[in-house]
Symmetry: D2
Subunit: 165 residues, 4 copies
C-alpha cells in the first residue's frame, strides 16, 4: 500500500521560532511513520523539516523548484529536481494526504490556496493568513495549530477521517 | 516591441455581478490597446473577459488548464492548451505586466499569491481576500478597485510606474 | 474564431543554414496569415523565426523556458515567461496546429516526440532524426521538407486536412 | 545522503516481452538497493517495474501524469500525482541518476531526448530508436542492453562513473 504523505510547506527564509517549529513537525511526522514531503531547498522551513525528519529516522522527499540536485537540502532522502519553478507547487499539494503550512510568503500561500481548492486538509502551524482568504479558497478544511504537537494531533485526526490512520 | 499584457484571473464559476465586471474589464483592456491574457476556459470570468475583449476589438490569449483546444472559450484569439492543470497558473502570472483579480476561489487566490511573490502589481476588482493574506504574500503591490473603470485607471497607473505606458 | 498557430521548434544554437531556414519559415508563416509560436529565446531558431515573422508583418508568441521577460527575443510580439524550463515544451506542442521542426538537439527532439504522440502533424525542415525514431513516436504524421518553401506548402496541406485552411 | 534513483521509462501499453523486462529490471533495481522512479500508472512498463521492485523488497516512487492518486499503480510505495500531463516528464528525467528506457512511444522518446539533453546516462533495454536520433539529442551517453541483467550491469557501471556506486 502506498505510504501516507504529509506535505510541509513554508518559507525558504524563516525566523527562529518558525525554524524550530519546522524541525519539530518533521520529527513528529517521522515518529508517526508518515512520509515527509516538502519543497526540498536547503534553507528555511524546507531544510529544518527535513532535518527533523532525518533525526527521528523518517523518510523524506523534496520536490525542487530547481533543476539541479545540488540545490537540495542535505537532509533529504529522495530528491526530485524539476526545473519547473513554482509550477511544481501543485505537485507538492496533490501528493499530500494532509498539508502542514508553516509561516511563509506567496509561494506558501499559493500552496495553501491550491490545497484547499483540491480538497486537501490544511493544518496551519503558528500561521494565520486570515479567514477571509481561507474560506474563499474552496472546499478543503483548515485548522489552526499553535504548536507542532497540536499540529501532529490534528494531522492524525484528519488521516482518521480520510481512512488513512 | 512586445505587447503589454494584462492578466485577468477569476473563478470558472461566477455570479452575475462578477461576470459583468469581467466582461467590462475585458472591454476596457481592449480599448486601451493592451493584450488580455486569461485561463482560457469557456465559463465564468475567463469566458466573460474574453467576450468583452473581442467585442471591443482587442486581442486575447488563453492559457488552458486542459490539453484540448476544444476546452477553450470561443471568444479567444489565441488558444494555448497545456494539459498542465494548475501548474499553468504561474505562466499566467509571469506573462502579465499587471494582474487583475476578479472574485474566485483557490485557483484565483493561488495566482494572486504568486503574482505578489513575483512582484506583479495586482488590482483586486470587487474582491477582497483580506490584508492579512495580501501583505503576507510578498513584495508585489496590490490595489482595491470597486468598478472596472477604477480598475482600468489603476492598471494605467501601474503601467506608467513600470514604464510600459 | 481562434487563430491558426504554427509552432516552430529548433535549437537555441544553430548553424548559418538553419538560421536562414528559420528566418525564412517565420517570414512565410506571417505571409500566410498564420500565427508563429516558438520557445521565445533570443538565439538560434527561436530568434531567427521571430525575426522573419516580424519582418513580414506577422504576429508571434514565445513561450519561454525562463521566468524573466528579459530572456525573450526582441522580435516577439507576445512574451510568455514560464520559469518552467523544459516542462513548457508540451505547451508549445499542444498549442500548435502544425509543428515545424528545424535542426536541434534533445529539447527539439522531445517536442517532435510529444507532437507525434499528441497527433500534431510535424514538418521536418532540413532535419531528419530517422524513421526508426519518428515511426515509434505515435499516431501523428511527419513530413520531410528540404526548403522553407516546401515546408510552407506542406503546412498548408496539413491545415487543409485539419479543416483549418 | 540522498538515495540513488533509477528512472524506468516505457510505454503504458506494452507487449509481453517488454512487460517481463520491466518487471525484471524493477526487481534488479530493488536488489541493488537503488530507488525505482517511474511514471506511476497502473499499466504497461510503469506497473510492471513497480511490481518487480516491490516483489524484491525495494522502494518505488511514481510521478503521475494524472491529478488523482487513484490513477497510480498499486505496487508503488510513494505516489506523486501532478495533474501536469506530459509536463511531468522532465521531473522524471531530472530526478534520475540513470534512466532505463524500455520500449515505448512518444512519451518515452521525449524522456530519452530530455535525459540526453540534460546529461543523464540512458540505458536502452531491448529498444533501439536509432543512432540518428540518439546522437542528435545531446551530451548524455546511451547504451544498448538486450536483457535486464545486462541493463543492471550497465547501470552499475554508469553509477560508478558518477561516483554513486
Amino acid at each position: 500500500m502506498r505510504r501516507t504523505v504529509i506535505g510541509v510547506m513554508g518559507g525558504s527564509v524563516a525566523d527562529e521560532r518558525t525554524t524550530e517549529n519546522a524541525y519539530e513537525i518533521g520529527r513528529l511526522i517521522a515518529a508517526h511513520g508518515w512520509l515527509l514531503l516538502n519543497g526540498g531547498r536547503p534553507t528555511g522551513v524546507m531544510d529544518a523539516s527535513a532535518h527533523g525528519c532525518r533525526d527521528a529516522g523518517g523518510l523524506s522527499v523534496g520536490i525542487l523548484f530547481d533543476a539541479e540536485r545540488e540545490a537540495a537540502s542535505e537532509h533529504l532522502d529522495i530528491v526530485i529536481p524539476t526545473g519547473m519553478g513554482a509550477a511544481r507547487n501543485i505537485a507538492n499539494v496533490l501528493a499530500s494526504d494532509v498539508v502542514v503550512a508553516c509561516r511563509g510568503q506567496g509561494g506558501t500561500l499559493s500552496e495553501i490556496a491550491l490545497a484547499l481548492r483540491f480538497e486537501r486538509p490544511v493544518v496551519l502551524l503558528d500561521f494565520d493568513p486570515g479567514a477571509a482568504f481561507l474560506d474563499a479558497c474552496g472546499p478543503g478544511r483548515w485548522y489552526l495549530a499553535e504548536t507542532p504537537a497540536a499540529a501532529a494531533t490534528q494531522i492524525a485526526a484528519c488521516l482518521k477521517e480520510l481512512d488513512r490512520a
